[in-house]
C-alpha cells in the first residue's frame, strides 16, 4: 500500500477558515514532501490546529484546496483514512480499558497494520500493556496516543502538539520515538509551539502567525536569515537613562531592541561586539544587572518577525 513515495505527501493551497468573528486560517499554502517531517510552528491561536484538522478531514475549509497523498477529502474518505495516522490534541481514551485493549481496538479499524504488541513495544509501553489507561502518566498517555496513530502503518502522520504539557524527560522520550518513525521514510506533519521541538524534529518549518505563514525553510535556513548567530540580552541596574541608538552602530550588531527594560542584540560575532558594548555602557555610565547570550534559535526568528515571543508565559 505504499504509494506516493516520491513527490508531495500533502499540498495545501490558499486555505481559509473563519469562525464567527475570528479568521483562523488566512490564505495558507503548504507543501509537504514525502518522507519529510514538516513542522507548523506558531503561538497558541495561530491557526495550527484548524489547519491540521482540515488536512485530517475533520474540519472543512471555507476556501482553498487540500490534497492528501494526492487525494481530496469527500471522495473515498475511508480508503484515505487507512493511510493516515492521527494524534489529536487533548484526546482522552477510555480510562477503563487497558493499554493493550485500546491499541487492539484501534488496530481493528484498519485493514492492514502493525500488530498491537509491536506498536506497544515501539512506544515503550510494554510494561504498561495490562494497565488501565486511567493509571497512566501524561507522557505515557501521549505515547499511547502515538501508538494508536501508528497502529495502521500510516503513510502520513499528523501530530497536533504531541508534547504539550509534558515534563522534559517525557518530551525527549517522545522525540526519540518520532525520530525513529521518521527514519522509516514516512511523512509527518506536526504542530508545536516549542521551538526546540521544531528544531530537533523538523526537516522544514513553517512559522505561522494569525493564520498566515510568515517564514518557511529548514530550521538552519531560518536562523541563518537572522544574519546573526548569537543573541545577547542585558538589563541595567537602577533607573539609568540609556540611549540605545549607539548600540546599533556597534560593529557586528544586526538588530537591537528594548522590551520591558531588557535590551536584545542580534550579533554576528560575540568576541568583537562584547568589548564595544562594555565600552558603550561605561561611556554612558550604566551598570549591568544581567547579561545573557545564547545561540540564535527559531524562537529568535519568531521574535524578530513578530516582536513577540512564541509563548506568552
Amino acid at each position: 500500500m505504499r504509494t506516493n513515495q516520491q513527490g508531495v505527501a500533502l499540498q495545501v493551497r490558499n486555505l481559509r477558515k473563519a469562525y464567527q468573528d475570528v479568521v483562523a486560517v488566512d490564505g495558507l499554502d503548504l507543501e509537504i514532501y514525502s518522507g519529510e517531517c514538516f513542522g507548523l510552528l506558531g503561538p497558541n491561536g495561530a491557526g495550527k490546529t484548524t489547519t491540521i484538522e482540515i488536512c485530517e478531514g475533520l474540519n472543512s475549509p471555507d476556501a482553498g484546496e487540500v490534497l492528501v497523498l494526492g487525494r481530496q477529502w469527500g471522495q473515498d474518505d475511508r480508503a484515505l483514512r487507512e493511510l493516515l495516522g492521527i494524534s489529536l490534541q487533548e484526546t482522552q481514551f477510555s480510562e477503563k480499558l487497558t493499554v493493550a485493549e485500546t491499541v487492539q481496538l484501534f488496530r481493528s479499524f484498519y485493514r492492514e497494520g502493525a500488530s498491537p504488541a509491536d506498536v506497544i513495544a515501539m512506544v515503550q509501553l510494554q510494561e504498561k500493556a495490562a494497565a488501565r489507561v486511567g493509571q497512566l502518566s501524561g507522557g505515557q498517555k501521549q505515547r499511547l496516543a502515538l501508538a494508536c496513530a501508528l497502529v495502521g502503518n500510516p503513510e502520513l502522520l499528523f501530530l497536533d502538539e504531541p508534547t504539550t504539557g509534558l515534563d522534559p524527560q517525557s518530551r525527549r522520550q517522545l522525540w526519540d520515538l518520532i525520530e525513529g518513525f521518521k527514519s522509516d521514510g514516512r511523512s509527518i506533519l506536526l504542530t508545536t509551539h516549542y521551538m526546540d521541538e521544531a528544531e530537533r524534529l523538523c526537516d522544514r518549518v513553517a512559522i505561522v502567525d494569525h493564520g498566515r505563514m510568515i517564514a518557511l525553510g529548514t530550521p538552519r535556513e531560518l536562523i541563518a536569515r537572522l544574519r546573526a548567530e548569537h543573541v545577547l540580552e542585558f538589563a541595567l541596574a537602577g533607573d539609568h537613562a540609556f540611549d540605545e541608538d549607539p548600540l546599533r552602530r556597534i560593529e557586528g550588531v544586526c538588530a537591537a531592541d528594548r522590551r520591558n527594560g531588557t535590551f536584545r542584540l542580534q550579533v554576528e560575532e560575540l568576541h568583537r561586539t562584547m568589548p564595544a558594548l562594555l565600552q558603550e555602557l561605561r561611556r554612558q555610565g550604566a551598570q549591568l544587572a544581567e547579561l545573557r547570550t545564547h545561540s540564535a534559535t527559531l524562537e529568535d526568528v519568531f521574535v524578530s518577525l513578530t516582536g513577540r515571543h512564541l509563548r506568552d508565559d
Binding site: E56, G57, L58, R78, A79, R81, E82, L84, I86, L88, E90, T91, Q92, F93, S94, K96, L97, E101, Q104, L105, F106, R107, S108, F109, Y110, R111, E112, G113, A114, S115, D118, C148, G152, N153
Partner: protein, 350 residues
Amino acid sequence: MIEKRGLADHPLVQLTRVRYREFFREPEAVFWVFVFPVLLAAGLGIAFRNRAPEQTAVGVVAPGDTTLVSALRQGEELDVLPMSEATAREALRTGDVALVISQGFEGGVEYRYDDTRPESRTARLLVDDALQRAEGRRDPVPVHDRLVRERGARYIDFLVPGLLGMNLMGSGIWGLGFAIVDARKKRLLKRLIATPMSRFQYLASFALSRLTLLFIEVGLLLGFAILAFGVPLRGSLPLLVVICLLSSLSFASLGLLIASRAQTMEGASGLMNLAMLPMWIFSGVFFSASRFPDAIQPLIQALPLTAVIDALRANILRGAGWQTVAPELAVILLWMGGSFLLALKLFRWR
C-alpha cells in the same frame, strides 16, 4: 508486520467488547442496572404482600352486659374489646377500633363509625350479621363461600412488569446517553472518526451490547420475582423476548437522540431526566395508568414506557398473544424508528 486476523479482530466485535468492559468495570452501573431493580422488587413485594385475613377490632361499651360481647365473639373475624365510653371515643378517633357498639334505645344497639373508612363499613356488616344471627335470624337464600386466592392478581404481580419496563428504559437511555456524551466530551468520538472506523458499526456496538446485557437484566429480575414471589409467566416466552428486545432498542434509540448533541454530562442528564420523568409518573410503573383523567389518556398511551409496560403485563400476567399486544408493539417500533432517524440527522461526532 502483517498479521493474521480472526473474527475477534473484527471492529464490531472489538467495539462491542469495549462496551462490556466499560460497563462491567464500573461497579456502580452494574449495581443500578442489575441489583437495584431486584432490591426494589424485594422491598415493595414484602411491603405490599397479601396477608392472611385479619381480625377487625371493634369496641363494646356495655357495662354489665355480657350477652352482647359473647354474641359478637361467635364470629372469627371480629376482635371484640369491651371498653369504657371515654376509651371507646379515643380508640375510635385514633383508628384503634373500626367501630364502637353501645346500647341503644328500646333494647336495640347503636353503631358508631366513620362511613368514609372502608374498614369501618366492613366492621358494620360483620357486627350486624353476628348480632342478628345470635338473635336467631335465618337467611332465605342458602350461601356457600369458596375461597379463590389467585396468583397474578396481587400487587407484586402487577409491579414486576412495571419494574421491568422501568429498568429497560433506564438502562437503555442512561447506558447509551452517558457513554456517548462522555466520549464526545473527551474528544474520543472525534479521534474515532479520524480512523477508518465505520460510524454505523460504532452505533451498532451499543445496540449489540444492550441486547446481550438485556438477557442478564431481565433474567435476574424475572427469575427473582418467580422464585421469591411466585409471579406467574403466563404468556409465550418468544413473545416476551421480542417485547424486551424491541423495548430495549427503542429506549436505546431515545438515548441516542438525547445524546446526539449534548456536549456536557450535566446537559445530557438534564435532558434524560426530562424525558424519563413523565414516564416514571404516567406510564403505570407502580399503579395503573388508567387512574389519570381521560383527557390526557391519549398522551399517556403514546409514551413508549406505557406501551412497554402494557405489553409486558398483557404477556406475563394475562398470557396475551401476538395480536393482543400488536398495538403496543407498533407504538414501540414507531418510537424506535423515529428517534433513531432523528438522532442520525442531529448527531454530532465532534
